[in-house]
C-alpha cells in the first residue's frame, strides 16, 4: 500500500509539474489576485486578454451547474473518501469530479483548487467546464502557464487557432520551457498561414531543444509554409539524423527535395516514408484492435489517482495533513501501479 502511495505521489508530482499548482509555495495563504486582463504586463508586451469561452461552452457550464452535486457537504469538514476499487469508467469519472469539487469547496480562493477542477474536468471529457475552471484560476493568479496550456488545448480541439496562439504565448511568457506548448503554438501559426512567426517559434524551439527531432520538424514545416525549401530541407535532415524513423520528416524531405528538383533524393525519402507509414498504420491497427474497455479503465484509474494525489497536495499545503494522507491512500487504492499503460 505504501509503495502504491509512493508511486501515486510520483504521478501527482508529474501532474503538478504540468499543472499550475507547481508555482505555489506550500502552506502560503493565497492573496486575492487581480483578473488577468487587468494585470500589469511585466514584459512590456501588449496585454493579451483571456479568451472568452464560447456561448455553447457557457451554456454547458451553466447546465452542469444545475446538476446535483455534493452541495450538502460542509466546506471544511473532514470528508472520507470512498473505499474499495471503483469497477467502472463512470464510477471513476464520478469520483474524479467529486474529489475536485470537494477540494474546491474547501479552498475556493486557492487557484490550485480551480486548476485541479480544470484538470479533473478535462479528464472527464468536459472541456467547457475545464476552461471555466482554468479561467477562474487565472483570475486568482495570472501567472499560471498550466492553465493557459489547458485552455489552448481545448481551443486547438475546436480549431480556434487564433486563441491557441494567444494562450500559448501567454503560457510561454510565464514558462518558456513548456515544449508541448511551444510546438502547439508553432502548429497553430502554420494553420493560420503566419509563416514568418511560425519560423521564429520553430527557431526558438530548436534553440531550446537542439536534440529534439520534433523541434526540427516544426521548424522545417514552418519553412515549407514560408516556401523556403532549402532551409526546410536542412531542418528535416536534422530531424532524420536525430530519429532515422521519423516518418513525417521523411515526408518533408521527399516533398522539399522534389520542389528543389532533387528527384533521386525525393524518391529515396518517399520510399522510406512509404515503408514507415505502412508500419505505423499496422501498429495502429494492432493497438486499436487490442484496445479494450479494460485498458481504458486502467488509464482512467491513473488519471483519477493523479487527481487524488494532487488534491492531497492542496490539503497538505493548507496544513491538513490528515486529509492529505487519506487522499494519498485513496490514490494508491485506485491505482496501485501508477505507471499505467500510457
Amino acid at each position: 500500500m505504501l509503495i502504491g502511495a509512493g508511486l501515486c505521489a510520483v504521478v501527482a508530482a508529474l501532474v503538478l509539474l504540468w499543472s499550475p499548482w507547481s508555482t505555489e509555495e506550500p502552506g502560503e495563504d493565497l492573496p486575492e489576485q487581480p483578473p488577468v486582463a487587468e494585470a500589469e504586463d511585466e514584459t512590456g508586451e501588449p496585454e493579451i486578454e483571456i479568451p472568452t469561452i464560447s456561448p455553447r461552452q457557457m451554456a454547458e457550464t451553466e447546465a452542469a451547474k444545475q446538476q446535483p452535486t455534493d452541495a450538502a457537504e460542509p466546506a471544511h469538514e473532514l470528508w472520507v473518501a470512498p473505499s474499495g476499487q471503483p469497477a467502472t469508467f463512470g464510477a471513476l469519472k464520478l469520483e474524479t469530479g467529486l474529489v475536485a469539487r470537494r477540494t474546491l469547496k474547501a479552498f475556493p480562493n486557492d487557484p490550485d483548487s480551480h486548476a485541479l477542477m480544470g484538470n479533473a474536468s478535462l479528464f472527464s471529457g468536459r472541456g467547457a467546464e475545464a476552461v471555466s475552471a482554468w479561467r477562474r484560476c487565472l483570475e486568482l493568479d495570472p501567472a499560471r502557464p498550466g492553465a493557459y496550456d489547458g485552455i489552448s488545448m481545448i481551443a486547438w480541439k475546436e480549431g480556434r487557432f487564433e486563441e491557441v496562439v494567444t494562450t500559448c504565448r501567454r503560457a510561454l511568457k510565464y514558462d518558456a520551457n513548456m515544449s508541448d506548448v511551444h510546438f502547439r503554438l508553432g502548429r497553430a501559426l502554420i494553420e493560420l498561414d503566419r509563416a514568418e512567426e511560425a519560423v521564429a517559434v520553430g527557431q526558438e524551439a530548436v534553440n531550446l531543444w537542439p536534440g529534439s527531432d520534433e523541434a526540427h520538424l516544426l521548424l522545417g514545416q514552418a519553412y515549407v509554409q514560408a516556401e523556403e525549401y532549402a532551409e526546410a530541407q536542412k531542418c528535416f535532415t536534422r530531424a532524420v539524423e536525430i530519429d532515422p524513423n521519423r516518418t513525417r520528416a521523411h515526408y518533408g524531405l521527399a516533398t522539399v527535395s522534389a520542389r528543389l528538383g532533387q528527384r533521386e533524393k525525393a524518391k529515396r525519402h518517399k520510399k522510406r516514408f512509404d515503408e514507415l507509414i505502412n508500419a505505423e498504420r499496422d501498429n495502429l491497427a494492432v493497438w486499436t484492435r487490442n484496445e479494450s474497455e479494460a485498458s481504458e479503465l486502467t488509464d482512467q484509474r491513473a488519471r483519477t489517482a493523479a487527481i487524488y494525489a494532487a488534491a492531497a497536495g492542496i490539503y497538505r499545503k493548507h496544513g491538513n495533513t490528515e486529509q492529505a494522507e487519506r487522499l494519498m491512500r485513496r490514490a494508491a487504492t485506485i491505482n496501485p501501479n501508477p505507471t499505467g499503460r500510457r
Binding site: 454547458e60 467502472t88 469508467f89 463512470g90 469519472k93 471529457g125 468536459r126 472541456g127 467547457a128 481545448i154 480541439k157 475546436e158 480549431g159 487557432f161 502554420i190 494553420e191 493560420l192 498561414d193 514545416q221 515549407v224 509554409q225 516518418t247 513525417r248 521523411h250 515526408y251 518533408g252 521527399a254 516533398t255 522534389a258 518517399k270 516514408f273 512509404d274 507509414i277 498504420r281 495502429l284 491497427a285 486499436t288 484492435r289 484496445e291 479494450s292 474497455e293 481504458e296 479503465l297 482512467q300
Partner: protein, 575 residues
C-alpha cells in the same frame, strides 16, 4: 487627431471653428464609411440559401439500419444523385437509403427513393413506377449513360450486391445488374464513377470499396466507457473494382489487368478527372485513415498509382487523412483542376492546388479553405460558384458519425451546421456560413451532398442527405445580378453524356474550365450540366470543348443566362 490639430492654432475661437469643421468632417467621413461598409457587406456576402425542404413534398427519411450493435457500415451511409432521369430538362433527385442491419427488425424495408422535379419546388415520389427502389444497404451512387441510348442510367454501390438500373427512356428503369455483370460480390461499397478510361466511346465503371467488414469480424469498441463505432483501422483494406464496358450491355472485370486491383484501400468518396491534363481520365479515390489513391491513366485504361508523387495522398505534413469525400474544380481559375477532400474531426478539410505536371500542394492554410472544418467531420462538398461571380466557392456538409459523441467529448457534436466558404477571387476563402440565411442554420448529421440548379433560375441549389433524418433541400436565393451559362454536352462519337470532356469558357478577362464528371463528392453524383458564373460580363467570347479522344468543338459569341447544349462535332473549328 482633429483635437490635436486644432490645439496647434492660437486663439480659442479659431480652435472652436476648427473643432466644428473637424466634427462635420468626421460625421461626413463616418457616414461615407458606413455607406461603404454597407455596400461592401452587400457585395461581399451575397450567398443566401433558403431551407425549402417542407414545401418540396419530399418525405424521404434516411435510415442507417442501426441495431445498437454499431456496425461500421451504418456510419457511412449514404450518398445521393441529382440528375435528369426523364429527359424533361429539370433535375430530379435520387436518395440512397440504408437497410436493416443484423438484429434490426422493421415492418417495411427501407428503400432508395427517386423524386421527380415537377417545377416550382414540388417533387413527386416516382420510385415505384420508375422501378429504382432498391432495398439493399445503399452507400454510393453514380449516373451515366452506359449504353449510349440517350438517357441516364444509375449504378448503386451497396453493402452487399450492387445494382445497375438501365433507363428505358420512358420514365422506367430495368435492373440490368446480372446481364451487365457488375454486382461486385458482397462487399462494403463506397463511391462509384463512370468514366471512359480507354477512349472507346462508352462508359466504363469504377467501384470503390471501404473495408472487409462482415458481421463475424465486427469489432465492438468503447471510448471513455461508452460504446462507439469502430474505425476503418480495425478492419482490413480492400481493393476496388474496375469494369470495362464491352459495348453490348455487358462489362468485364479488369480490376487486375488495369492495375487498380493491386492497391488495397479504405475507399470512400471519389472522382474521376484528368488530374494531369493529358487528355485522359484519371481516378482519385479518397481513403479513410490511409493515403489517398491516385490512379494515373496511360490513355488505354492501364493505371499506375501515383498518390504520393502527386502530393494528393497526404496532407501538407504527411498525415494520412480520414478522407470522406473528394471534389474537384478550378478554384483559382488558372486552367487546372484542383481537388478538395473532406475529413475527420481534428483535421482540416483539405484543398489541393494543381501546380501543373501532375503535382499538387496542400493550400488549405494559405487559402483559408479549411475554416470552420477542424472540429467537425466533413463529408460531401461542392467546389461550386454559388454567387455566380466567376469564382468557385465551397459548400461543405458536416456531422459526427458517433451518435453519442457528446457523452465523452464535449468539443464535438453529432448534429452540426454545414459550412459555406466564399471564394474572394484573390486566392482566399471566407467563412460566410453565419450570413447565408436559414439554409445554413440546419443542424443535422449530414453525409452526401449534391449541387445543381433545381429551379432553372441560373444559380446552384443544394440537396443534402442527412443520416437518420429527412434530407435538406436548399434554394439558392442569392441576389447578385450576376450572369451565368450552363452547358450540357452531347457526345456523338464519344460517350453520350460527354463524361470526361474538358470545357473552357472565356468571357472577357475571365477564363474558366471544368470537366464533366459522373460520380463525385461524398459517394454522390451531381453537376453533369456544367455551371459557369460570369459576374457582370454580358457575353461569352468563346466556349471550347475538348472531348475524350481529342476532338474539339468551339463556339464564339455565345449568349448568356441560358442552358447551352453542345453536340459533338457540330462546331468544329476551321484550322
Amino acid at each position: 487627431m482633429f483635437e490635436a490639430r486644432g490645439s496647434c492654432f492660437e486663439g480659442r475661437e479659431y480652435t472652436m471653428t476648427a473643432n466644428l469643421n473637424a466634427l462635420r468632417l468626421t460625421a461626413l467621413l463616418l457616414t461615407c464609411a458606413l455607406l461603404l461598409a454597407t455596400a461592401c457587406v452587400q457585395a461581399a456576402e451575397p450567398i443566401s440559401f433558403k431551407n425549402v425542404t417542407e414545401q418540396t413534398g419530399i418525405t424521404f427519411r434516411h435510415t442507417d439500419g442501426s441495431s445498437g450493435r454499431r456496425y461500421i457500415p451504418e456510419t457511412v451511409s449514404a450518398g445521393l444523385a441529382t440528375f435528369d432521369y426523364d429527359g424533361d430538362g429539370d433535375i430530379d433527385i435520387y436518395f440512397l437509403n440504408g437497410a436493416p442491419m443484423r438484429g434490426t427488425k422493421v415492418a417495411t424495408a427501407p428503400r432508395n427513393a427517386l423524386y421527380r422535379n415537377d417545377g416550382d419546388w414540388k417533387f413527386t415520389d416516382v420510385t415505384a413506377e420508375a422501378g429504382v427502389g432498391d432495398t439493399g444497404f445503399g452507400l454510393g451512387v453514380a449516373v451515366g449513360d452506359y449504353d449510349n441510348d440517350g438517357d441516364a442510367d444509375l449504378y448503386v454501390n451497396n453493402f452487399g450486391p450492387n445494382v445497375l438500373y438501365r433507363n428505358n427512356g420512358d420514365g422506367t428503369f430495368t435492373n440490368a445488374t446480372e446481364k451487365a455483370g457488375v454486382a461486385g460480390g458482397h462487399r462494403v461499397g463506397a463511391g462509384a464513377c463512370f468514366l471512359d478510361m480507354d477512349a472507346d466511346g462508352d462508359l466504363d465503371l469504377y467501384v470503390s470499396n471501404y473495408v472487409d467488414f462482415t458481421y463475424e469480424n465486427h469489432w465492438p469498441r468503447t471510448v471513455s466507457g461508452f460504446p462507439v463505432y469502430a474505425g476503418p483501422i480495425c478492419y482490413k483494406a480492400t481493393p476496388d473494382g474496375l469494369y470495362r464496358n464491352n459495348g453490348d450491355g455487358t462489362f468485364t472485370d479488369v480490376s487486375e489487368s488495369s492495375g487498380v486491383g493491386a492497391i488495397k484501400g479504405t475507399g470512400m468518396g471519389m472522382v474521376c478527372a484528368d488530374y494531369d491534363n493529358d487528355g485522359d481520365t484519371d481516378i482519385f479515390v479518397g481513403n479513410d485513415v490511409a493515403a489517398n489513391s491516385i490512379f494515373e491513366n496511360d490513355g488505354s485504361g492501364k493505371f499506375e498509382e501515383v498518390g504520393l508523387i502527386s502530393g494528393l495522398a497526404y496532407n501538407r505534413s504527411g498525415k494520412a487523412m480520414a478522407t470522406m469525400g473528394v471534389e474537384c474544380g478550378d478554384y483559382d481559375n488558372d486552367g487546372r483542376l484542383d481537388f478538395h477532400a473532406t475529413s475527420y474531426g481534428q483535421e482540416l478539410a483539405t484543398l489541393y492546388r494543381n501546380m501543373g505536371d501532375g503535382a499538387f500542394e496542400d493550400v488549405t492554410s494559405q487559402t483559408g479553405a479549411g475554416k470552420g472544418t477542424f472540429p467537425h467531420l466533413t463529408w460531401g462538398s461542392g467546389l461550386i460558384d454559388l454567387d455566380n461571380d466567376g469564382n468557385r466557392d465551397l459548400f461543405i456538409v458536416c456531422g459526427h458519425l458517433q451518435d453519442n459523441v457528446e457523452l465523452y467529448n464535449d468539443v464535438a457534436q453529432y448534429h452540426v451546421r454545414n459550412i459555406v466558404l466564399r471564394n474572394t477571387g484573390k486566392g482566399k476563402f471566407v467563412n460566410v456560413s453565419d450570413k447565408c440565411g436559414d439554409g445554413l442554420e440546419v443542424k443535422l448529421s449530414s453525409r452526401g451532398a449534391a449541387f445543381d440548379d433545381l429551379d432553372g433560375d441560373g444559380d446552384v441549389d443544394a440537396v443534402i442527405l442527412n443520416s437518420r433524418r429527412e434530407p435538406t433541400i436548399l434554394r439558392n436565393d442569392s441576389k447578385t445580378g450576376n450572369h451565368w451559362l450552363q452547358i450540357r454536352l452531347k457526345g456523338t462519337k464519344t460517350n453520350r453524356d460527354g463524361v470526361g470532356a474538358h470545357v473552357k469558357v472565356v468571357a472577357g478577362d475571365l477564363t474558366q474550365i471544368d470537366e464533366v464528371h459522373s460520380g463525385r463528392g461524398y459517394q454522390s453524383h451531381f453537376g453533369m450540366r456544367l455551371h459557369f458564373g460570369l459576374g457582370k460580363r454580358e457575353k461569352v467570347d468563346r466556349v471550347e470543348v475538348r472531348w475524350i479522344g481529342g476532338g474539339v468543338d468551339v463556339l464564339e459569341d455565345v449568349d448568356i443566362d441560358r442552358v447551352l447544349t453542345i453536340t459533338e462535332g457540330e462546331h468544329v473549328e476551321d484550322k
